[in-house]
């Protein structure tokens, strides 16, 4: 009896320990976020206070107004949207046939493709961006949205191929054989059998490409020079200028705006993301 009792006590203590640990994680993860949001809604008077409070005493949208006035935020958001949507759509469009071919046709090209996907993760961006910068300069695509879209497509391709391959593998080949037996052409099989089954994976890959492009900073920083072409990430760093302290509120407000689309897509993506990442890793 007593051993059972002590076991129960031990288990209860373990449970409490687990909750304490979980609470510590929650605090670590949440407190910077809370601070960012709180700063975005604080009036300038409170921001300058030497004894900052966790939440604004009076909530205000003033910082958002100033943020939109001081930098071309709306324009930057539009740029980001154009770049991210175009990059995502183009990436996935050229990745679908390639992912299909890499799974179904076991050729040397497919093997090389997989090798490249893994290898491309290893290279420092600086080794890619210098030659790309020189090439794009010769094509007069520096400081242009178009040039950035091209760069993002290439940059997004490896991971998109990786994700899509996982989804293609999940389509049973026997379905395609059955369609062929019923006299469907190759093309017909792809369009009416394979692609419909790929739709959920396609949507997930699209969203992931979008978020990657929306969040990207390094390439945009190097390639876009004039403010009217810059994307959200780059415009945000302009708030960090010499002004420093005075700009904290608008800086926080602009940051909150910049992260909304990504958070939205990630919320929708949650489940798929995990399965997608692992799906690519399943042995074929």
């Amino acid at each position: 009896m007593s051993t059972a009792g002590s076991l129960r006590a031990k288990r209860a203590a373990g449970r409490t320990g687990q909750y304490v640990a979980l609470l510590a994680y929650l605090v670590f993860l949440a407190f910077p976020l809370l601070w960012l949001v709180s700063t975005a809604f604080k009036p300038p008077k409170e921001l300058g206070s030497i004894d900052p409070t966790w939440l604004p005493k009076t909530w205000t949208l003033e910082n958002f107004r100033v943020a939109f006035d001081s930098q071309p935020l709306l324009h930057a958001a539009l740029n980001s949207l154009i770049v991210a949507v175009s990059a995502a759509v183009i990436t996935v469009t050229i990745a679908i046939p390639a992912a299909y071919a890499m799974v179904r046709y076991k050729s040397k090209v497919s093997t090389a493709g997989t090798g490249w996907i893994l290898l491309s993760q290893m290279f420092p961006f600086v080794l890619i961006i210098i030659p790309l910068f020189l090439v794009l300069k010769n094509l007069h695509l520096i400081n242009s949205i178009g040039g950035l879209i091209i760069v993002y497509v290439v940059w997004n391709l490896p991971f998109s191929l990786w994700m899509l391959q996982g989804y293609v593998k999940a389509v049973p080949i026997s379905l395609e054989e059955a369609a062929a037996m019923d006299g469907a052409s190759r093309f017909r099989t792809l369009v009416s059998v394979v692609f419909p089954l790929l739709t959920p994976g396609l949507v997930a890959t699209l969203m992931f490409s979008f978020v990657t492009a929306w969040n990207e900073f390094f390439f945009a920083l190097v390639l876009l020079k004039s403010p009217e072409n810059q994307t959200m990430s780059v415009i945000l760093t302009r708030f960090l200028g010499a002004e420093g302290v005075a700009d904290l509120g608008p800086l926080a407000a602009a940051s909150v705006i910049a992260m909304i689309p990504s958070l939205l897509f990630f919320a929708l993506l949650q489940r798929r993301l995990v399965s997608g990442m692992l799906a690519g890793a399943v042995k074929g």
Partner: protein, 320 residues
């Protein structure tokens, strides 16, 4: 009809009168899968070759030239001069030392914290959903926003960290976290962990789903404690996942740029100047394309050395 033979199993080969079984290659030929592969790969292959493989080779070749921005006389091949210069550049060595400290610390602590969180989230705890959701947020955020957010937290006068530590009585004067020589790198490392932990957690959590629950239960029945169950059952099952994500994390962290660029721009006095920040400055502030490319190659070398060390140790363990 050739299509009917698709259904034949290898065992059927002994029967007289039936055609020999088809090899996988022949089977593919029947479906038309041996042709047309090129056609499907082409849309992806062309941009990859032109904009990824091509520039990469070009970039590697630049490392052996004196290429500069805005120069009128033609770029010349200078052999290993850039690498000799790198060897004598103390700023370069500092930057690489900082880069390695950063990458090793962030990767190791990320793994440790992510493993703890993943194990917790794998338990049947209340508020698990909240932690799961919160854990995804840093992953989705643009790294520039993460950097800005932590600048607000670390802010010397208006930051919440100083205010809280003061209220709790840990410090009596406001600390300049990102401006102090000794504190800047640790402060930046904490941000790196915060930003990278979620992805690792999610991957580990997925790996934990594959740990057979019966094994853990039977180990518990045999009297194994929590620690023993972890080392004997859980750890071996998730080890491949851990090795893969740690290797990737190390590469990503060593190549990291945006976070630290926003937080400190490499300051104070170069204390947080990661290799990528250094290479970026060389290339796009001073226009030294050739030199920066050589730096990029040196970064690959560091990554290759670390990965070899890491993976060889793992292979040895596997053999033992």
């Amino acid at each position: 009809m050739s299509l009917t033979s698709l259904k034949l199993k290898p065992q059927a080969s002994g029967n007289r009168g039936t055609p020999p079984p088809r090899t996988p290659a022949q089977r593919k030929a029947t479906l038309g899968l041996d042709r047309g592969g090129w056609f499907l790969l082409l849309p992806a292959l062309i941009p990859i070759l032109i904009l990824s493989v091509g520039p990469l080779l070009y970039g590697v070749s630049l490392a052996f030239t004196d290429s500069q921005s805005g120069r009128t006389n033609p770029t010349q091949f200078i052999g290993l001069d850039n690498f000799a210069d790198l060897g004598n550049d103390s700023l370069f060595w500092d930057s690489f030392r900082i880069g390695i400290i950063w990458a090793v610390c962030v990767t190791a602590l990320q793994l440790l914290l992510a493993l703890g969180l993943a194990l917790l989230l794998n338990q049947n705890l209340r508020f698990r959903w909240l932690a799961r959701t919160l854990a995804l947020v840093p992953w989705a955020m643009p790294e520039v926003v993460v950097g800005i957010m932590w600048r607000l937290v670390y802010h010397q006068d208006a930051g919440i960290l100083n205010a809280t530590l003061k209220d709790l009585g840990f410090i009596s004067e406001n600390v300049d976290w990102l401006g102090s020589f000794s504190l800047a790198l640790p402060a930046v490392i904490v941000v790196g962990i915060w930003a990278g932990m979620p992805q690792t957690t999610v991957v580990l959590l997925a790996g934990l789903q594959n740990v057979p629950g019966e094994l853990r239960e039977s180990a518990a029945l045999d009297g194994a404690g929590i620690w023993r169950r972890f080392t004997a059952v859980t750890w071996p099952a998730i080890k491949p996942v851990i090795v893969a994500i740690t290797a990737l994390n190390f590469i990503w962290n060593f190549n990291s740029f945006g976070l630290v660029y926003v937080l400190t721009q490499g300051g104070p006095g170069g204390e947080t100047r990661l290799p990528m920040l250094f290479a970026y400055e060389e290339a796009f502030k001073y226009g030294q394309f050739g030199y920066a490319a050589a730096m990029g190659l040196a970064m690959i070398a560091v990554i290759a050395v670390f990965l070899t060390m890491f993976l060889r140790k793992r292979l040895k363990e596997e053999a033992a």
